[in-house]
C-alpha cells in the first residue's frame, strides 16, 4: 500500500529516485539540492538501494560520470543547482546529443553574482536550449511524481532525451508536506526496466561521443529537435498512464489550466508560485473577476498548441518570469509571445522573485491588476 508521510521535498525526490533504482549515483552537494544526495547516500549506506555512489570532485565531474554511467547502459541520476549546473554546462549538451535518458534534479537557485543561494529560475532557464526536457513542479508531491514520469519519458525509444526535473530551491526542497509514497511494485511496473540498444561492452566495441563533421553535425542536432517534438505527444500519453496508475494528475502533463474555461485574463507561471497565485485567483474570482492561471509544466518542449488553445478567448495574459535574459525580457515571456504571435491576446511580461525575493499575494495581485487594465508588465520588486 502507498503510504502518506510528512517529509521534506528533498526526501520525497530521493525516495522517488530510489524507487527507480539507479545503478550509479555521481553526486556532488550544492545548496539547496544537497539534501537529495544526502538522503540517497543514506539509502545506499543502509542497504535500501543497491547503487554505486561516485564521490566526484565537482559538478563538471558529476555530469561527466552521469555520461559515463549511461554509456555503460545503466540508469543513473544526479542533482544540482545554480553554479553547479553552470559548471555542468559543458557536458549538458553532450548528454543530450548522445541521447542518454539521464534524469537530473534541479533545485532552482539564482546564479551568482552577486552570490545568492535563494530561489529563482536563472540556473535551469540558462540551460533550456541544450536538448534536455525541462519539467517544472508546483509542490513536493508533484516533484515525487515527476521523477517517475521523467524516467519513463526519457527512456522511451522515440524520445531518448535527458530530463531536468526542476523544483524551487528551499520553497520546495526544504518544505515539509504530506507526500504519498508509492510502492516499489507499482513504481517498477510503471517506470519499467532500462535496456538500451547501445552501451559499452568489450565484446562488441562501440564509440560514444564521436566527432561529427559539417556533413553530419546538422542532422544529429535535427534528430534531437525531432525527438523533442515527439516528446510533446509523448508527455501527455505518459501523464495519462501515470494518472490512471496513481490517481494524481497535472493538467495534461505539459500545462495545467486552472479556471481557464471562462477566464478573460490569466497569468502564466512555472513552479511553486502557482500555489500562491491560486489563492489570489480565488480571491479575485470571489469579487467577480474572470481570472485564471496557466501553469506551465513543460518548458522544453514548449507546448505551443496548448498555449494557443488555452488563450483563444483571453483578453490579457501576464507571464511571470523568475529569470531575465538581460538586455531583453523574461525568456518564458519571449517564448509565449512567439507562440501566441497570431493570437489577439495582449501578453505582458513580469519579472519577479529574483534571488529569492518573495512573490507574495500582493505582487501577484498587482500582476493580475495590470493585466486586467491592459497595461505592460513590470519588475515586481
Amino acid at each position: 500500500m502507498a503510504e502518506k508521510k510528512v517529509i521534506s521535498g528533498s526526501e520525497a525526490i530521493a525516495i522517488a529516485v530510489k524507487l527507480c533504482k539507479p545503478k550509479v549515483l555521481p553526486l556532488y552537494p550544492i545548496t539547496p539540492s544537497t539534501l537529495v544526495p544526502e538522503k540517497l547516500s543514506e539509502f545506499v549506506a543502509n542497504g535500501e538501494l543497491d547503487s554505486q555512489m561516485v564521490y566526484v570532485e565537482s559538478e563538471h565531474s558529476a555530469a561527466s560520470a552521469l555520461f559515463g554511467a549511461y554509456a555503460t547502459g545503466v540508469r543513473s541520476f544526479t542533482a544540482t543547482a545554480s553554479q553547479g549546473l553552470a559548471l555542468m554546462h559543458e557536458i549538458v549538451p553532450i548528454i543530450a546529443a548522445s541521447r542518454f535518458p539521464a534524469v537530473m534534479f534541479i533545485a532552482n537557485r539564482a546564479l551568482s553574482g552577486p552570490l545568492n543561494i535563494w530561489n529563482d529560475h536563472s540556473d535551469s532557464m540558462s540551460e533550456k536550449d541544450q536538448g534536455w526536457i525541462q519539467l517544472f513542479c508546483e509542490d513536493t508531491q508533484e516533484a515525487f511524481d515527476t521523477i517517475l514520469m521523467a524516467y519513463k519519458l526519457a527512456e522511451k525509444e522515440n524520445i531518448s532525451l535527458p530530463v531536468m526535473v526542476c523544483a524551487d530551491g528551499f520553497v520546495l526542497t526544504h518544505v515539509y508536506e504530506p507526500v504519498t509514497i508509492e510502492t516499489q511494485e507499482k513504481v517498477t511496473e510503471f517506470v519499467g526496466e532500462y535496456h538500451p540498444k547501445d552501451y559499452l561492452d568489450p565484446a562488441s566495441p562501440k564509440t560514444f561521443g564521436a566527432f561529427a563533421q559539417p556533413n553530419t553535425y546538422f542532422e544529429f542536432k535535427e534528430a534531437i529537435q525531432i525527438a523533442m517534438q515527439e516528446a510533446l505527444k509523448e508527455i501527455p500519453l505518459i501523464h495519462k498512464e501515470f494518472a490512471k496508475t496513481f490517481g494524481r494528475e497535472y493538467g495534461n502533463g505539459l500545462v495545467e489550466l486552472i479556471e481557464m474555461k471562462d477566464a478573460q485574463y490569466a497569468l502564466l507561471i512555472a513552479g511553486s508560485t502557482v500555489g500562491t497565485a491560486r489563492e489570489v485567483m480565488n480571491e479575485l474570482r470571489k469579487k467577480g473577476k474572470k481570472v485564471g492561471i496557466i501553469k506551465i509544466k513543460s518548458i522544453r518542449p514548449f507546448p505551443v498548441e496548448d498555449l494557443i488553445n488555452a488563450t483563444k478567448k483571453l483578453k490579457g495574459l501576464g507571464v511571470i518570469d523568475r529569470h531575465v535574459s538581460i538586455g531583453y525580457e523574461g525568456p518564458l515571456c519571449t517564448d509565449t509571445k512567439a507562440a501566441l504571435a497570431k493570437q489577439k491576446v495582449k501578453v505582458s511580461g513580469f519579472i519577479a522573485g529574483l534571488g529569492g525575493r518573495d512573490i507574495d499575494r500582493e505582487r501577484i495581485r498587482k500582476a493580475f491588476d495590470l493585466v486586467i487594465k491592459g497595461k505592460e508588465g513590470e519588475w515586481l520588486k
Partner: protein
C-alpha cells in the same frame, strides 16, 4: 558480463534520412563499427602536395619515420610513396629529407 538483452525495435530514422555525407545517422551518433576514422580522408585538407623524386631518393626512411599522419608507406618495390588519401601536406617529409628529393606544389582540386 555482457548483457543479452537486445532491443528488437528498428532504429527510427529521425531526419527522414538514414545517412548524411555517407555516414550512418545512428541515435546519439554511436559508432557501431570501430575503426571508422579510416573512412575519413584527411587528404582533402591539403594545400601543398609533396612529391618524391624516386631517382634522387636514397631510401633512408626519414620521411616515413617523421610523417605525423603515417601517410608515407613503402611499396612492394621498396620505394617510399605518399598516400594522398591521408597526407595533409604539412611538408615535414620535405624538410627532413637529407637529399632534398621531396618537392611540393600547390594542390589543385
Amino acid at each position: 558480463m555482457s548483457k543479452k538483452v537486445e532491443n528488437k525495435k528498428s532504429e527510427i530514422s529521425y531526419s527522414g534520412e538514414k545517412t548524411a555525407g555517407g555516414i550512418e545517422l545512428t541515435k546519439g551518433a554511436v559508432i557501431r563499427n570501430p575503426g571508422s576514422t579510416k573512412n575519413y580522408k584527411t587528404g582533402e585538407w591539403r594545400t601543398f602536395k609533396p612529391e618524391i623524386d624516386q631517382a634522387k631518393c636514397i631510401k633512408c626512411g626519414k620521411c616515413w619515420l617523421n610523417c605525423s599522419d603515417a601517410a608515407i608507406y613503402k611499396d612492394s618495390e621498396g620505394k617510399f610513396q605518399v598516400n594522398y588519401d591521408y597526407c595533409k601536406g604539412c611538408l615535414i617529409c620535405s624538410k627532413v629529407c637529407p637529399v632534398k628529393c621531396i618537392s611540393y606544389k600547390v594542390e589543385e582540386k
